[in-house]
Each structure stands twice: as structure tokens, then as C-alpha cells.
Symmetry: C2
Amino acid sequence: MELLKQRIRQDGTVKGTDVLKVDSFLNHQMDIDLFEEIGKEFKRRFEGCGVNKILTIEASGIGIACIAARHFHCPVVFAKKSQSKNIAGAVYAARVESFTHGRVYDVIVSRKFLGPGDRVLIIDDFLANGAALEGLTDLVSQSGAQLAGAGIVIEKAFQPGGDRLRAKGIRVESLARVKSMSETGGVEFTD
Amino acid sequence: MELLKQRIRQDGTVKGTDVLKVDSFLNHQMDIDLFEEIGKEFKRRFEGCGVNKILTIEASGIGIACIAARHFHCPVVFAKKSQSKNIAGAVYAARVESFTHGRVYDVIVSRKFLGPGDRVLIIDDFLANGAALEGLTDLVSQSGAQLAGAGIVIEKAFQPGGDRLRAKGIRVESLARVKSMSETGGVEFTD
């Protein structure tokens, strides 16, 4: 998605070799006009897939998922991150080990809001090591819902998550795939 | 907002005397068609106020704020909840004591995204004791931005937050104001 790549080049900041800060338009301040274009592009890519529910994860996936959902005319469910929840039975839960943040947490979704009748599109802002996305696909499996695929805004293609999930047969559509980046050389994309 | 009140009566669940569960359409599963009507209503109420930025707080305010922002044609900034951040200097921070969840946390916003040029509408899903909203208004004050007001989806009018903030001169617009509620009697609204 060219508009997105331009924006990353213009307003993204690289820290070290693997931190890409896009907090001015994607995950702290959010540019809703850009989100609208992102939502349309997800719709174009997953048109005809019968998506009737979007699943995302708090916090920074929620805005993108909600704007995209307008184009799919379906509800959004956001998975919650929890380190100690006492709600066994009422939720689907999956353990996620975040390499980025160096912590382990559970992602949980109420059983009321995902089930065998659902055809789910997962949406998230970033895909790097894939731990969060893997947790979300696990929740979908547990619920008996079908997974249409995952729509990701920025994939760090030099990290292993995207390839590992595709190798499992999951359709992953990333709107910008970063091949490499550096503080001096900026961001390079792959197709 | 009649559509919202109907939905709360129909799908909301009261637990005890002060928990109103609306997780099937507002803050876990999110009904985007309803959010669209909520966004239009916030726009109607704050039309002509010169709003150029919406401020909300993770996680459940984000979806509503993003859908509403389409009507204001402005970006959204979401404040982050943090219990131990080491980012002094780069952020505005305010201490929030949550009665509902029995914990204390900081709300933080990067200084890059709020400043004297901004006219801010705060949007959130719930207002009860007002601690979170007070924290957000504090961030706006610190930044030198002007506060246009606060748009709240559901106010528990039997709790003191709304009245306390209005007494400070803050314009608080709540789309559904709950006067009282009980497990057997359901939800009653006030105007």
C-alpha cells in the first residue's frame, strides 16, 4: 500500500535496528484519514471471504479494526491482555510470550463473542515475531470459528512471525512489509 | 440518545447495584453501526466548538473515539495506562485512582501530540467516579491545550464523577445517564 509506505518513510523513526516508531499516526496519535484508506485496502484484499467478525487485540489494534469494520459491516471483538484473570470457563485464553516487551501474558476473549458460526478476520497494527497473532489464531481455533486470515498494517518481514504463520497455511496480508531498516538508511520495503 | 438507551435496556446486564455490563456491544464486542450513531451524536453536540483533536484512554475508549473522529475530521490520541514508566520529560502524566478496579495508575500522553494549539474533545465509554476523566483533563491542562468538553457514552449519574466535573466548569455530555439500576428492576435513565 503505497500511501502507507510513503507515510512510514516520512514520519516513521527507526531506533536501533528493530524499533520502528510510528506513534505520530498509527499507535498513539492516530490519523483517521489514513485508517480509512487502510480499512478500504483490507476490504479489497478480503472481499468475498465472508468475514462476519473482526478480532483484534488491545490497545493499538482497536482503532484500525473499528474503522475497517465499517467496510465489512460487522462487529469487532478485542482480545484483552491479562496477567492474572480468574475467569476460567467464561473465556478462551491463550498464552503469549512477547519478545518485544519481555513478558508473558494471556490473551482472552469471552466465549459469548466467538463461535462456530463466525468467519473471522484478525486485524493488528504490527507483526514481528508473531506471538500475539499466534495467540489470536489460537483463540479462533478454540472457538470453532473459521479464520479468513490476518490483516496487518506493518510487518517486520526480517523477523520470523509472518513466514511462520504463512507456513501454517494462514493467510497473512500485510500492507507494508519492512525488509530492513536502520537509523541512518531509513526503511526499505519488500513486496 | 434514545437508540443507545434502548440498546442498554435490551442487552445490558446489571450485576449487584453498580456494575452495568455492556460488553456485547460497547466494550468487548463493539457494534460499529451503533458507534457510528454515537459518533454523529457527539458531532451534533460539539458542532462549532473548533475541536481539532480527540483524546481518549485505552482500551475501550479507542474504538468510539476513532469512529467519532471521522465526523470531526481530526486525529485521535489515546492516553496510555502505565504503572511504572521511565519516560519522564517526554510525556504528560497524571495519577488516577480507580475505585472500580481498586488500583492506582498513571495516564500518560506524549508531549508531541498535545499542545497549546489544540482544542480537545475527550471521549470515553463510561463515567462513574470520574477519576479517569479527571486524569485526562489534567493532561489537557498540562499541555496548554483548550478543553472543549467531554463526550461520554454512559454516565452512572448516581455516582459523583459527572457532577464534580461539571461543578469545575467542564462541559460533560453523556449520551445515556443512568439514574439507578438493579438486577431485578433493570436500568432507569435520567435526562
